[in-house]
């Protein structure tokens, strides 16, 4: 509101001043005789968008974000209202592009990449699609055997490729439209040589890098790792071990770097242990189990 007082000898002059300065929409708030003249108080309210009410943060939501250790930078946004809605606005949520490109299931050692590949393969086979499964993890003892146990059970073949060239060869030989899952060796984000190797494999295979990150990590650490993977080309995130850790701050922190949330590992089962993440599911998960 713009408020101004006008003084003049008579009412007509005062009103003329008001109209001249504030226009025809001015509201006369008060008039008063002053000695040998008048004083007029007039106001104008500029047209503007209605004020957005200040939403008070729901204490239960504040407690939940506290519990999960959600970084301060994300909290303001997430406290604005209904959590499923604010999550949908703050983060990307995406399905895995299985039909478009090979998926490179990557991440630091021990995050559950191999089990994730097995679960995705199981889901495809159960819906009648036979994927091509490649393991690029020839280094780790027993890695091939672990995956082979699954592919054998599913009745699909497993390609063991210790070199990007072998991966490329397997890809050119596959049937058209066959989804491809590539299990990567664990990649230490802080070793540039290993990150470079991952990038090279992704470009040879023309694959989408999917970061597999286990819940329960320190959120700041998760941000660092996610940023490095994003700079190597990762756009998608699979959160694992949600059944083994209760705090999801690290997952939100990692997603906050721009990686779209795709799947969540929520239990030991091969067939039902992995779930596509939706804002509503994530909101429910964040709000439940807070102690």
């Amino acid at each position: 509101m713009r408020l101004k007082r006008y003084r003049a000898a008579g009412m007509a002059q005062a009103m003329a001043q008001v109209r001249a300065e504030l226009g025809a929409d001015a509201l006369i708030l008060a008039t008063q005789r002053l000695g040998n003249g008048v004083e007029v108080t007039a106001a104008l309210e500029p047209d503007e968008a209605p004020l957005t009410p200040l939403v008070s943060a729901d204490p239960k939501l504040v407690a939940a974000l506290d519990f999960h250790g959600v970084p301060a930078l994300l909290r303001g946004e997430l406290q604005r209202g209904d959590l499923a809605t604010t999550l949908a606005g703050a983060f990307g949520f995406a399905a895995l592009p299985l039909e478009e490109r090979p998926l490179l299931i990557a991440g630091p050692p021990g995050t559950g990449k191999t089990l994730t590949v097995a679960r995705l393969a199981t889901r495809l086979v159960m819906s009648g699609i036979k994927p091509l499964v490649i393991t690029a993890d020839g280094k780790r003892a027993g890695a091939t055997e672990q995956l082979a146990a699954f592919t054998k059970l599913l009745g699909i073949s497993l390609v063991v490729a210790c070199h990007p060239v072998t991966v490329g060869r397997a890809l050119t030989r596959r049937e058209p439209d066959t989804p491809v899952l590539i299990d990567c060796p664990g990649c230490d984000a802080y070793d540039p040589a290993q990150v470079e190797e991952l990038s090279a494999l992704a470009s040879t295979a023309n694959a989408a890098i999917v970061l597999v990150l286990a819940a329960g990590l320190d959120p700041a650490e998760a941000v660092d790792v996610a940023r490095i993977y994003a700079s190597a080309g990762a756009r998608l995130l699979i959160a694992t071990k949600l059944d083994l850790a209760r705090r999801l701050g690290s997952i939100l922190a990692a997603a906050g770097t721009g990686l779209a949330l795709a799947e969540a590992g929520i239990g030991p089962g091969a067939a039902d242990g992995l779930l596509p993440i939706t804002p509503a599911w994530l909101a429910a998960r964040l709000l439940s189990g807070v102690s």
């Binding site: 509101m1 007082r5 108080t41 309210e45 301060a72 303001g76």
Partner: protein, 245 residues
């Protein structure tokens, strides 16, 4: 007045006598037999303790930083007979309080309020988020204004935000430093008309406090007006407001 009432005192503009009003109202309520607490919520330039001549060991800053509980930081003003939680002047840390910390502090204040009949929140000048939140949080809002155009404009801005944040809320106006009662009524009528026309709802009048040089005298001496000059016009006016709450 019901038990555990929280009343926020705002003005938008600084320098209209808000802290003095809050202290004197707490004193007046105490003299009416109510258990009162004054919470210095001026997060940038707190000075309730200075006006009362107190030197608190703990204050709101220690509470917010988690080093003390609200109960630890509550001190008794022996002269006035009411409790206070001091703020901390010049602490930029407090004006930048994050929403979650503010909510936790308000939750603690809500619990503390149960031990009093009334808790007064002396809000800072300006319209920062924290001021806006505390205005909307309290059970009632008193908006202090003087006849100056700047004060009227800023009081209107407080009322406009309050209308958005608390569509159910009923704000009341206190006109301070009125040259006469009639002049004070005119000031209120001006604000009332602006609110009715632009916001579609008008605040009620809580009271008019006449300009009184004994107020400045009491503040300079760091004493309470109702103790030093109990029959001063401003003292009589503020007691009338206390009775009307």
């Amino acid at each position: 007045m019901t038990h555990g009432q929280t009343i926020a005192i705002a003005s938008g503009k600084g320098g209209v006598g808000k802290t003095w009003f809050a202290i004197t109202l707490a004193h007046a309520l105490t003299r009416l037999g109510r258990r009162a607490m004054l919470f210095d919520a001026d997060l940038g330039l707190a000075n309730v303790d200075i006006q009362l001549g107190l030197t608190p060991r703990l204050d709101l800053a220690t509470v917010i930083s988690g080093k003390a509980t609200l109960a630890d930081a509550t001190l008794h003003c022996a002269d006035g007979g009411f409790d206070i939680v001091a703020g901390r002047s010049g602490s930029g840390l407090l004006s930048a309080i994050d929403p979650a910390t503010l909510e936790r502090t308000l939750a603690a204040l809500q619990i503390a309020a149960a031990r009093y009949d009334v808790v007064l929140l002396d809000l800072g000048a300006g319209l920062e988020r924290a001021v806006r939140r505390m205005s909307a949080w309290a059970n009632r809002l008193l908006v202090l204004a003087t006849e100056e155009p700047t004060s009227l404009t800023d009081a209107y801005a407080v009322l406009k935000l309050y209308a958005a944040d608390r569509p159910d809320g009923k704000a009341r106006i206190v006109v301070n430093q009125a040259s006469t009662r009639t002049a004070g009524e005119r000031t209120f009528a001006t604000l009332e008309r602006a609110c009715q026309t632009f916001l579609g709802r008008a605040p009620a009048l809580a009271g008019i406090i006449r300009r009184d040089e004994r107020v400045g005298d009491a503040i300079r001496r760091q004493t309470l007006l109702l103790s030093r000059h109990p029959n001063a016009p401003a003292a009589v006016d503020i007691e009338a407001i206390a009775r009307s709450l």
